[in-house]
């Protein structure tokens, strides 16, 4: 990639160092804590599925029972597999049912009993991690068999609430040119402290993320990938109170990209900051293993804050996401850092500012599959003006080599897109790509000119903000309203009661595989 901005390399290095300094205490916290959702994810990776008559998953019931019997400070695995061995249950499902009826006994085993429980748990987790590894291989086989779409990938959303309506819409979108299909979740799923079960046909402004819905959509898109000769990627959302579990299900069902931002849930869904950061590290370790590309949510800051005033908060958040992501094992190629085209179009030089911001991010993260989001805030209901704005977004995207373009709808903010809205949006991006796809080759901002100056200023502001965050601590900065102008104290928000300090004998067989990145031992799979 050519450099167009002549950024000060010392300043770029300082920005990364500061992000690492700000993030390290958070990583230390994540290493010493667990959460109810991480423990439920362990059970799900070991194959526990299904729900009780009220729809509450067995993973939740079993974790609840163990929480009240022994606490979670040693992790769920030791007491669960100890009970499996000593109680003679036929699998986790049967144990969970007994536990829900109050019939199962749990303890923290010691000595030989603990060793036996650990061995059995490792074996069970090896099967789940092995399935994630196999899915990663299968994804590559599918890409080899079809083709890798050329960039930028065209990212389209479906959101009917009914998985059986979503499937034909997603297939139609893929045939019309979409490379990535995102199934938006039902409003409010992020605040559910459990993952719903089964295929679902009812949702609000979206479709529930469930393991079965994941499976159905991936199977349908495999079929369409073969039909169109391109590998169509599937995206969902690993965010909210069940982030680790959703990440586990995504790995088990071969999803390809997951929304997974380090601060989105905190800022926009009032989820407790500690809960979010602890859950996130585990979720990202699974994504890293699964070869999933994460998408971060910096675009959202610009829907509440001004896109010019707050441009540097986007860069700061991206640097933090990069640090946290790499610490969890993600590679540059898995960091779909987000940003957006949200500057007020009435502002003079607004397009130049957009170019400066988009190019800055491209050059700061040259190997990341950047995800560029279309205008939403300044889509007024004038669909004709909106179509024009979307074309400028597409133009900025191709000029600055963005990797993933979420396609803007001229009816943004009016209704969930009509079939024709989507078709017109694809026509728009096809035109821009065809007419100006190689304009980037000739795009050379004047040295010291407006675009270079603006990019340098945003980078400078980012470094200043990072210095302040390092001084006060990231949790304090979040509490003070640094991001998205929303104040979120570390001891408030949803899900804090599900955060547990690890005891010295804490055991998490999934983490053991994920932390060491060790291949699943052949004898353990059996």
């Amino acid at each position: 990639m050519q450099t167009r901005l002549s950024l000060d390399p010392a300043l770029v290095t300082e920005a990364r160092d500061l992000a690492a300094r700000a993030g390290q205490p958070i990583v230390d916290m994540a290493r010493t804590h667990t959460t109810t959702s991480i423990e439920r994810a362990v059970l799900r990776l070991a194959g526990l599925q299904g729900a009780d008559a009220d729809g509450l998953p067995w993973a939740n019931r079993l974790v609840e029972a163990i929480t009240s019997a022994t606490g979670l400070q040693h992790g769920v695995a030791l007491p669960a597999w100890d009970a499996l061995i000593t109680g003679g249950y036929d699998g986790l499902g049967q144990l969970a049912e007994a536990a829900a009826e109050g019939k199962a006994a749990f303890r923290i085993p010691v000595g030989a009993a603990a060793a036996a429980a650990r061995a059995a748990a490792r074996e069970a987790l090896a099967a789940g991690i092995g399935r994630i590894d196999a899915n990663r291989v299968q994804r590559q086989q599918m890409i080899d068999e079809t083709a890798e779409p050329s960039r930028p990938w065209i990212y389209l959303i479906v959101a009917t609430g009914d998985i059986y309506e979503d499937i034909p819409q997603a297939q139609a979108a893929a045939r019309e040119g979409a490379d990535v299909i995102a199934v938006i979740r039902s409003t409010g799923q992020s605040l559910l402290d459990y993952v719903p079960e089964g295929a679902t046909r009812e949702g609000y402004a979206g479709t529930y993320a469930t393991q079965e819905n994941f499976r159905l959509m991936r199977a349908a898109l495999d079929q369409t990938s073969r039909e169109v000769g391109r590998y169509i990627r599937l995206t969902n959302y690993a965010s909210g109170l069940c982030m680790p579990e959703i990440a586990a299900l995504a790995g088990l069902e071969r999803l390809d990209m997951m929304l997974n931002d380090c601060m989105y849930g905190i800022i926009f869904r009032d989820i407790n900051p500690r809960r979010t950061f602890i859950d996130q590290r585990f979720a990202r370790q699974i994504h890293a293993r699964a070869g999933i590309i994460i998408n971060t949510g910096e675009d959202n800051y610009l829907t509440t804050a001004d896109a010019v005033d707050a441009a540097h908060t986007v860069v700061v958040s991206q640097l933090l996401n990069e640090f946290f992501g790499k610490e969890a094992g993600l590679t540059d190629g898995q960091l779909g850092l987000g940003h957006a085209f949200e500057i007020n179009p009435a502002l003079p030089d607004s397009f130049l500012l957009e170019l400066a911001h988009a190019q800055l991010i491209r050059e700061l993260f040259p190997d990341a599959p950047l995800k560029y989001m279309p205008p939403t805030k300044h889509m007024t209901g004038n669909v004709f003006a909106g179509y024009l704005l979307d074309a400028f977004f597409n133009l900025c995207g191709v000029m600055t080599d963005q990797s993933i373009l979420l396609i803007g709808m001229m009816t943004e903010g009016i209704h969930t897109p009509f079939l024709a809205d989507r078709d017109l949006a694809l026509e728009n991006v096809r035109y821009v790509r065809n007419a100006a796809g190689r304009l980037g080759d000739s795009f050379v901002p004047a040295p010291g000119g407006f675009i270079q100056q603006r990019a340098a200023r945003v980078l400078g502001d980012s470094v200043r903000l990072l210095r302040r965050i390092c001084d006060q601590g990231l949790l304090t900065a979040i509490a003070a309203g640094t991001f998205g102008i929303t104040k979120r104290p570390a001891d408030a928000g949803r899900g804090l009661d599900g955060v547990i300090v690890r005891a010295s004998g804490y055991f998490n067989p999934a983490s053991d595989f994920l932390e060491t990145d060790s291949p699943v031992a052949a004898e353990a799979v059996r």
């Binding site: 609430g161 139609a172 045939r175 019309e176 039902s186 409003t187 409010g188 992020s190 605040l191 609000y204 402004a205 926009f268 869904r269 009032d270 829907t303 509440t304 804050a305 209901g381 903010g413 009509f418 079939l419 024709a420 078709d423 017109l424 102008i485 929303t486």
Partner: protein, 262 residues
């Protein structure tokens, strides 16, 4: 002088020209299919009152659908004397005027409790009205010195909202609803109004109930059982002005001022 009867204007007074676009679930592949699709579009246009109508653009979308853009002339007349509009029933005030009005009417801060109710997690609207940051260049209600704002955030259950509003001794409850699938915004608003009525007891005393969201009809307050409905594009200043006017009226909602006799 413009009369009370008008028609759409294309480029000549009274030409009645309009443009519509729509999709029909018909194929647009073979010549026969194309002719049939355009005929189908023209039939719909005619039934919509477009006569003559012209299909200026038709495009197949996948094997089963066709998108049309149609221009035509409508015969319908618009009688301006029959148009009813909801005029703003309160004056727009500056922040200082709002504060003054609240202080003289209540002698204390006005308590505003805001939330997104039901499963709606879209706090953008309520935050734009309540947060200091505000919206469209206007500061939000937190900025008003004579208001105390409690923003409960998203996905608040109605009973929780009623309990919090009571505990905070709310003068006004602001509810934002963005999600409209299956008319959730309407049923949620009605449910909320009913719960506050039920909680009011024999005195019938409840906070001002205000709902807002992009798909609400501002004229629907009575049918929803609330005091005020704000639609798309509402600014914090409008909401503040409304609240000031409402508490400024005789018999302020929570504590009537003592000098009503004057």
């Amino acid at each position: 002088m413009t009369g009370q009867i008008v028609r759409p204007y294309g480029d000549t007074t009274g030409d009645g020209r309009v443009q519509v676009s729509f999709t029909l679930p018909v194929p647009f592949g073979t010549a026969t299919e194309r002719a049939r699709a355009e005929g189908a579009a023209l039939q719909l246009a005619a039934k919509m009152g477009l006569d003559p109508a012209m299909v200026v653009h038709a495009k197949g979308m996948g094997p089963d659908y066709t998108f049309f853009i149609v221009y035509g002339r409508v015969a319908h007349l618009v009688d301006l004397s029959q148009v009813t509009v909801t005029e703003r029933e309160f004056p727009l005030l500056s922040a200082a005027e709002v504060n003054l009005r609240i202080r003289s009417a209540l002698g204390r801060k006005l308590v505003v409790v805001g939330a997104c109710i039901g499963t709606d997690a879209h706090t953008v609207g309520i935050d734009a009205i309540l947060n200091v940051k505000g919206h469209a260049g206007e500061k939000g209600l937190e900025y008003y010195r004579e208001m105390r704002v409690v923003n409960l955030g998203s996905q608040i259950a109605v009973p929780e909202l009623v309990a919090r509003a009571t505990a905070e001794r709310a003068d006004a409850v602001l509810v934002s609803q963005v999600v409209t699938q299956r008319d959730a915004h309407l049923s949620n608003a009605r449910q909320m109004a009913a719960a506050f009525c039920a909680a009011a007891g024999p005195t019938g005393h409840r906070p001002l109930l205000v709902v807002g969201g992009p798909r609400f009809d501002p004229a629907a307050a009575a049918s929803l059982g609330v005091d005020k409905v704000f639609g798309k594009g509402t600014t914090p200043g409008e909401v503040a002005s409304y609240l000031a006017a409402a508490v400024g009226r005789a018999g302020a909602p929570v504590e009537p001022t003592t000098d009503l006799a004057s």
